[in-house]
Every structure is written in structure tokens, then in C-alpha cells.
């Protein structure tokens, strides 16, 4: 096998591999079209990659990926602060400088904020989840790398990640909550925010996903 043939083989294999970015339906149709037209090597690879890129760009013509990305970025910036605050407060709790009630309230709010944000991000735009994940990861990485408090683990700022990921997985499987569940969740979160004494104004932004879920919840059908 010559150098040219070997290169063509490699590019054809790469083209086949690049089809993982396509839906199963498109994968079959595109590989079939390429086989039928005799395209191989670099041409096949460029065609598949071009289609995958165009499909991604097409997704960004709607508003949903933009909102999902904004919630992922802004939510993670705010939740990093909340996670850090929770870690500091848990240390105060162990020293007896803080009450259990306030601490429980804070922990519960962080869980719910993170879960609802993750749910909204994934349910709004599941196909661009990798961009949302990157937008969430950038502030996380930056914060972890620049963390300076030696009395705490630098990973303490990532406490919100687990509930957020759980929310995202559930949001991807099920785009909406029932109206009753969403409303109960939003009211409970709003009430907790009024009760909690360590509230910052900026954290009210974190309530938006919960009320978004209420606005877009599944409503029971009215029977005549």
C-alpha cells in the first residue's frame, strides 16, 4: 500500500469516526451517499465534519441554546460562591458559631438552585449540552485553580456540581415537570430564600430557573 492509499484509508476511517457527531439516521444516510458517490479519503472526512458543524451552527439560530448557555455560565459563577459560603459555614457550625437551622436552609437552597439550573439548561437545549458544560466548567476551573484558602479543600467550591448534573440528566430525559411539582418547588425555594438570613441580592437570579419551570410545566388537560 502506497503512502497516498494509506492516507486515504486513514481519512476514510476518520470520516466514519466523525459520524458519531451525527444522529443515527443522518449517519446511515450520509455514509450511504458517500459510498454511492464514491467519495472517500479527505473528501468524505470534510463532508462529514462540514455537516456536523453546520448542524451545530443551525442549533444556535434559536434562542434556547443562548439562554441555556447563559444560565450555565451565570449559574455556575453564583453557585461557586454559594458552595464556598456553605463550606465556610459548615466549619463555623462545627465550631458552634452557627445554628443548624440556617445551615440546613443554606444547604437545601444550594441543592435546589443547582438542581433546577441543571434541569433548565438540559431541558432547554439538550443538543448543545456540551457547550453549556464548557460554559459551566470555565468558571469552575478558574476558581479551583485560583483558590487560596488553605483551611479548606479547593474542591469545596464544586459542591453544587453533583445536584446540577443530576438535574441536567433528569432535564435531558424529561423536558418538563408537572405543574404541581414545579409550583411547589418554586414556592418552597422562594420561602426558603426569605427565611434564610445569609441571603445576597445576586442569589435571586438563581430563583429564575425554578419559576421558569413553573411557566413551562405540564398543565393538566381540562375536560369539558
Amino acid at each position: 500500500m502506497g503512502y497516498g492509499q494509506a492516507g486515504e484509508c486513514v481519512m476514510s476511517s476518520l470520516a466514519e469516526m466523525a459520524t458519531i457527531f451525527l444522529t443515527p439516521r443522518d449517519r446511515d444516510a450520509v455514509l450511504g451517499d458517500l459510498a454511492e458517490t464514491g467519495a472517500n479519503g479527505w473528501n468524505a472526512f470534510a463532508s462529514v465534519l462540514g455537516l456536523a458543524m453546520r448542524q451545530q451552527m443551525e442549533l444556535w439560530r434559536c434562542w434556547q441554546p443562548w439562554v441555556a448557555g447563559s444560565v450555565a455560565f451565570a449559574g455556575s459563577v453564583l453557585l461557586l460562591g454559594v458552595s464556598f459560603g456553605l463550606s465556610v459555614d459548615s466549619r463555623h457550625l462545627l465550631r458552634g458559631e452557627r445554628g443548624y437551622g440556617s445551615m440546613l436552609c443554606e444547604a437545601l437552597l444550594m441543592l435546589l438552585w443547582a438542581w433546577t439550573s441543571g434541569f433548565v439548561v438540559a431541558s432547554l437545549s439538550g443538543k448543545t449540552r456540551w457547550v453549556s458544560a464548557i460554559l459551566c466548567a470555565i468558571p469552575c476551573l478558574s476558581c479551583v485553580l485560583r483558590f487560596q484558602d488553605t483551611s479548606l479543600s479547593r474542591l469545596c467550591v464544586l459542591l453544587f456540581l453533583l445536584p446540577a448534573v443530576v438535574g441536567a440528566v433528569q432535564g435531558a430525559c424529561r423536558a418538563r415537570l408537572s405543574h404541581r411539582t414545579a409550583l411547589t418547588l418554586a414556592i418552597a425555594m422562594t420561602a426558603l430564600m426569605f427565611v434564610w438570613d445569609g441571603m445576597y441580592m445576586r442569589n435571586w437570579f438563581l430563583l429564575l430557573p425554578a419559576w421558569w419551570l413553573v411557566a413551562h410545566a405540564e398543565r393538566p388537560k381540562l375536560s369539558n
Binding site: R25, A29, G32, D33, L51, R54
Partner: protein, 109 residues
């Protein structure tokens, strides 16, 4: 209103008959319109037109010629034909005074 490439695609698909598919439409566009048509442009436009209800697609049979891969069959819907007709008529109306249509020399300004 349709975009120019959307119109070309619908027209090529309609001209190929009841049930055509990606590779055939691509070949038709390249042959008739004399322009290169990438797989990316073809399938993203098909997807967009299907979302608008102007095309209907479904997976067809696999053939040995295609390495055992199925075809994505395409059919223009009545709504798609209406949209293409409207685009064509609009282009006709817009162009009727143009010098390349009337054959008159372009007036100097």
C-alpha cells in the same frame, strides 16, 4: 419566504419525482444549477425544510451500492410546493423589468 438554496432543493426534489433521496438531489442540483452542493448544506437544509413542514423524510431501504446503508427518502409536501410556487412567482414579478429579462439595454444613470 424560502431562501434561494431552499427553493433550488425543493425544485430539484420535486423534479425527481415522488420519492427521491439525498445523493440523487445533490447530483441533480450540481447538474442543473451548475453549482457545488456539499452534503452539509444539503442535509441541514433538508432538516430545516422538514421542520417547516415543506418536506417529509423517512428512512428507505439499504442497497449494496451504498455499502448496506439506508437512504433518507425525501418528498415535497403540498405546503412545500405552494412555498416554491410563491417564491417562483415573486422572482418573476421582481425580475419582469430587468434588462436581462426584457432584452433592452440597461439605461445609463
Amino acid at each position: 419566504m424560502l431562501g434561494e438554496f431552499e427553493y433550488v432543493l425543493i425544485t430539484a426534489a420535486a423534479g425527481l419525482g415522488e420519492s427521491t433521496y439525498g445523493a440523487a438531489i445533490r447530483e441533480e442540483i450540481e447538474k442543473v444549477a451548475g453549482r457545488k452542493c456539499s452534503i452539509g448544506a444539503l442535509y441541514t437544509t433538508i432538516e430545516r425544510l422538514e421542520k417547516k413542514g415543506l418536506l417529509k423524510t423517512w428512512m428507505g431501504e439499504a442497497t449494496a451500492q451504498r455499502g448496506g446503508r439506508a437512504k433518507r427518502m425525501v418528498r415535497v409536501t403540498p405546503k412545500g410546493m405552494q412555498a416554491a410556487k410563491e417564491f417562483y412567482e415573486a422572482m418573476m414579478r421582481v425580475s419582469h423589468n430587468a434588462s436581462w429579462v426584457t432584452g433592452k439595454p440597461e439605461s445609463a444613470s
